[in-house]
């Protein structure tokens, strides 16, 4: 599948003035990914060499396969015989090359037959649902239980050494295994929504499978095929070794190996060329399969990166920490190693018992900022500047071992998906008791008592029942409560909550927010909450830092920022919220922000929001410092003072900008009915 050549992004933007520019096309031409791995490239190259050499052998082989050079029997490699000769003086190179076509073809036949049966069955079973699937699966189980070698030998006993038929029969036997693997893949692909969308569009079953299901299975099919090909080769050679192959003088790899094994003491070399060709071909098929599988899994074989880049600008560390702050982040930068910055120059401070919200859209760096507090950045991403001052230490500069002592004991984390924090294999009791014993040095009975108490503290009434359950038995809200209890096992002073309620229903979210609020009130815990939801921020946060494109654009008290936003981005986020205050009418159109967040590496100089800002002017494109706002807070907008009290307005994008001719071809004359949308 190649990408068509596309005009540059600039021309697109110019042509489509009323429409939104789409990101520039990624040109995905050139070498496929699996060939960029050494194993895949070498494997593919070897297979190509073997296939070409085998099928062209009659054109170039130095000797005929039965041409005997009786003066040079069992000869070592020489100018006349590059790979030596066999016991009757026949040229080994010519025989290996000539013998190749049969096993390669028959292994391919095996693969073909196996897929021709297994794949359609898998597609049918995945499509037709449980009953059909059960019938097919039971039948294939019978096939899986058959001893295939014995059946093949019995078949040879009946029909003789007609290898293509035998190898096709092997394909039939293997098809059950192919079906098994393909069924799982087909079922998961069928759950994707584009398959449902195609079905709603009325596509026939065949077309849905060919166009939408099969392409997504291609990589798995290729992996399986390459592996089966290797197995087919081995079985073919094995049968020939036993004498069930092409009969003399026609050469076969298996029989040549058998022949050589008789001379293992007087001419060990004879075993080498044939054995090596067979082994390398099988290994090449498997390497190719591995490389394809690696591509399927999206593995990127990159050396494991250090958590922190060695060259860190520590200038910001000079000033001493304000003792009133429990946490102080100054000028923090997070970068991809050798790549763009993800977070740049972020500063904020947190006082004990307060809740700070990091708010913004996805891709603004708020999660990276939060994770850097615990040194839990993904591989290949590290803190590249600034300090994280915590209890007199710089967490950004702490060795991994000391950081490990901080995690859980001093700073704990809860994430968006509570199930991620809980191990499905173990009971809640086990998962709570282990860290309690480790963190608090409690005995088993004492730890269990503390665990029950923690669960009651997070609002779980029947703590005993929950202790005995496994994570899958808990509802989402209950699981998040347990995850919070787990975070509290080390009696942390700071809790980092990354979108703690995003995956929950709104009534459950309200309960979890009330719980977090009660914990802060009762224990003096400080919390950093990452959220995209301004309502959540308004509910739980004392202070807010609004992030955009890796920088804090506005910070201050929650009431200050949310009630009187000073930065246009904060104004826009608030204006885009569809929840109107009680008693106010619902707006006809919502305010929105044109375009998207610029990705890391392509942040503009000056204000990063200028490209999407209604109030942007020429001066916004030059760098400027943050200005004080909301008391202790800041605002990163050069026009902040002028814009005081301004409102972000609704901008029409999309349907209203339809060019007239396009609209007329698309919409037949169906005027909107009087009732339609007239109320709004």
């Amino acid at each position: 599948m190649s990408v068509l050549p596309l005009p540059d992004a600039d021309t697109i933007a110019a042509e489509a003035a009323p429409t939104e520019p789409v990101p520039p096309a990624q040109r995905r031409r050139g070498v496929p990914g699996f060939l960029r791995r050494p194993g895949g490239a070498l494997g593919a190259a070897w297979l190509v060499v073997v296939v070409v050499a085998s099928f062209t052998a009659p054109l170039w082989r130095p000797y005929a396969v039965d041409e005997q050079d009786l003066d040079h029997r069992l000869a070592l490699p020489s100018g006349a015989h590059l790979l030596g000769t066999d016991p009757t003086g026949r040229d080994v190179l010519s025989r290996i090359a000539t013998a190749g076509a049969e096993p390669l073809l028959s292994a391919a036949l095996t693969v073909l037959v196996a897929f021709a049966i297994g794949l359609p069955l898998a597609l049918i079973a995945a499509e037709r649902g449980k009953r059909v699937e059960q019938v097919i699966s039971r039948v294939t189980e019978v096939f899986l239980a058959l001893p295939s070698t014995i059946i093949l030998l019995a078949l040879i006993g009946v029909i003789g050494s007609r290898m293509y038929i035998v190898m096709a029969a092997l394909g039939v036997l293997i098809s059950a295994a192919v079906y098994r693997v393909m069924l799982g893949v087909a079922q998961s692909v069928r759950q994707r929504l584009y398959v449902d969308a195609a079905r709603v569009n009325g596509l026939g079953s065949l077309r849905v499978n060919v166009v939408h299901v099969l392409p997504s299975m291609a990589t798995v099919i290729a992996v399986q095929a390459a592996q089966l090909f290797g197995i087919g080769l081995l079985i073919n050679a094995g049968l020939a070794f036993l004498g069930f192959g092409p009969s003399e003088p026609q050469p076969s790899w298996g029989f040549m190996i058998q022949d050589a094994s008789k001379h293992i003491y007087d001419d060990p070399w004879l075993l080498v060329p044939t054995g090596l060709v067979l082994a390398l071909t099988v290994v090449a098929a498997n390497e190719l399969a591995d490389a394809l599988a690696g591509k399927a899994a999206g593995r990127d074989e990159r050396p494991r990166a250090r958590r922190r880049a060695p060259l860190r600008t520590a200038a910001a560390a000079a000033a001493p920490a304000d003792p009133a702050n429990v946490l102080e982040v100054r000028d923090l930068s997070v970068s991809v190693d050798g790549g763009p910055q993800l977070v740049s120059g972020v500063s904020f401070a947190l006082r004990p018992g307060r809740v700070l919200g990091l708010v913004g859209e996805s891709g603004c760096g708020k999660t990276m900022t939060a994770r850097s507090l615990l040194g839990l950045l993904p591989d290949g991403v590290s803190v590249s500047g600034g300090v994280i001052l915590w209890q007199g230490r710089d967490l950004a500069d702490l060795p991994e071992k000391e950081l490990n002592a901080v995690r859980g004991r001093e700073i704990a984390m809860i994430s968006q998906e509570p199930m991620v924090a809980l191990d499905p294999m173990f009971s809640v009791e086990y998962q709570l008791v282990q860290p309690i014993r480790r963190f608090r040095g409690a005995g088993r009975g004492e730890a269990r008592r503390i665990a029950a108490e923690l669960l009651r503290n997070v609002g779980i009434v029947d703590a005993e029942r929950v202790l005995a359950s496994h994570p899958h038995q808990l509802s989402g809200g209950m699981a998040q409560r347990v995850a919070i209890a787990l975070a509290l096992t080390g009696e942390p002073k700071l809790l980092v909550a990354d979108e703690p309620t995003t995956a929950l229903d709104v009534t459950v979210q309200a309960e979890i927010l009330s719980l977090l609020r009660a914990l802060v009130r009762d224990t003096g815990l400080s919390v950093v909450v990452v959220s995209h939801d301004l309502g959540v921020v308004a509910d739980i946060c004392d202070d807010v830092a609004v992030m955009y494109a890796g920088a804090v654009v506005e910070s201050g008290t929650a009431a200050g920022v949310l009630d009187e936003p000073a930065h246009p981005y904060a104004m826009a986020l608030l204006a885009a919220n569809p929840h109107v205050p009680a008693g106010e009418p619902v707006p006809v159109r919502l305010a929105s922000i044109a375009g998207t967040v610029p990705p890391p590496g392509s942040w503009p100089t000056g204000c990063r929001f200028a490209g999407r800002c209604q109030f942007a002017q020429q001066q916004c494109t030059t760098p400027f410092p943050a200005l004080p706002a909301h008391g202790d807070g800041t605002v990163l907008c050069i026009r902040a003072a002028e814009l005081s009290g301004a409102r972000w307005g609704a901008v029409a994008v999309g349907a209203e900008t339809v060019p007239a001719p396009a609209a007329s071809t698309l919409t037949p004359p169906t005027p909107p009915l009087p009732t339609a949308g007239a109320s709004r």
């Binding site: 596509l203 166009v211 459950v508 008693g583 994008v653 999309g654 339809v658 005027p671």
Partner: protein, 337 residues
Amino acid sequence: MTAAAVSPPAQTTTPALEVRDLVVRYGSGRKARNAAPAVDGVSFDIAPGETLGLVGESGSGKSTIGKAVLGLQKVTAGTVRLHGQDVTAMSLKQRSRTVADLRVVFQDPYSSLNPARTIGQTLVEPLRLLGVRGPDAAQRARAALASVGLPPDAADRYPAQFSGGQRQRIAIARALVCDPKVVVLDEPVSALDLSTQATVLNLLADLRDQRGLSFLFIAHDLGVVRFLSQRTVVLYRGQVMEAGPADAVGEQPRHPYTVALTAAAPVPRPAEQAARRAARESAGFGTAGAAAPSATGCPFVPRCPLATDVCVQQRPPLRPVGDSRAACHHADRVPSL
């Protein structure tokens, strides 16, 4: 088990979509028969050009109703009519021949577009079945892209090259390319960021007004539903709790569950939110999933502060309360927000 139909006040024309006493049970066998159905006797109409919001939390059956309407989910009982034509038992293939004007936009913009096909191929696909091919189809695909605010050359690209909001617009373009009359919107904006969500909601509102589309708008967020819909249906555990004009349901909820849902949605105004939170905490709603609901009575009983014996024994019918209809024995005692 029949809930009264939730219909617009003055119904003169045939509804674009008519759902009557819909019941959907998952699975088969005795165990499934004894379990509560995913959708339990839901009825509603959507007039041509009207948007109906279907609101509920996870497990409310709202997405199952959407799938049943689309024919992606087998219906246990009840009927689905499209422009008066019964499509309940029709296969998807039969539907494609007879009713080409029902389309869908799904929640997840990442899995709803085939990554191996260009946007153009994705858009042209449904047109082929309608007999539109070649340059005509390409022209309509470009027009559909323009109508959702994307440049025509987006057609040559793959989904991976677009952001979430752009993909959702492409999904909308795919739904519109056949010029449907009814579109099922299954949580079309819940995976999007706030600013993108606003853009997509505005786009949907524009399309609704320009083309007189009927939307079945499925969402979990009352505020979002209220923005786009004329009428709202609130679901809880597969049953209709309340139905009525969107503004009435939003401003003056008549069912305790709607009150709980509205009160739980946080607003981005700290002072107002503090007052709302205090009101919610003092209202005494039960914890979600606290106990299994009774099989015979109201499903909200375990969480309802107003629940009495009659609520446990008898399932309340939908009855008119104010401008809306609510399925609550104590609808007149429901506290105002």
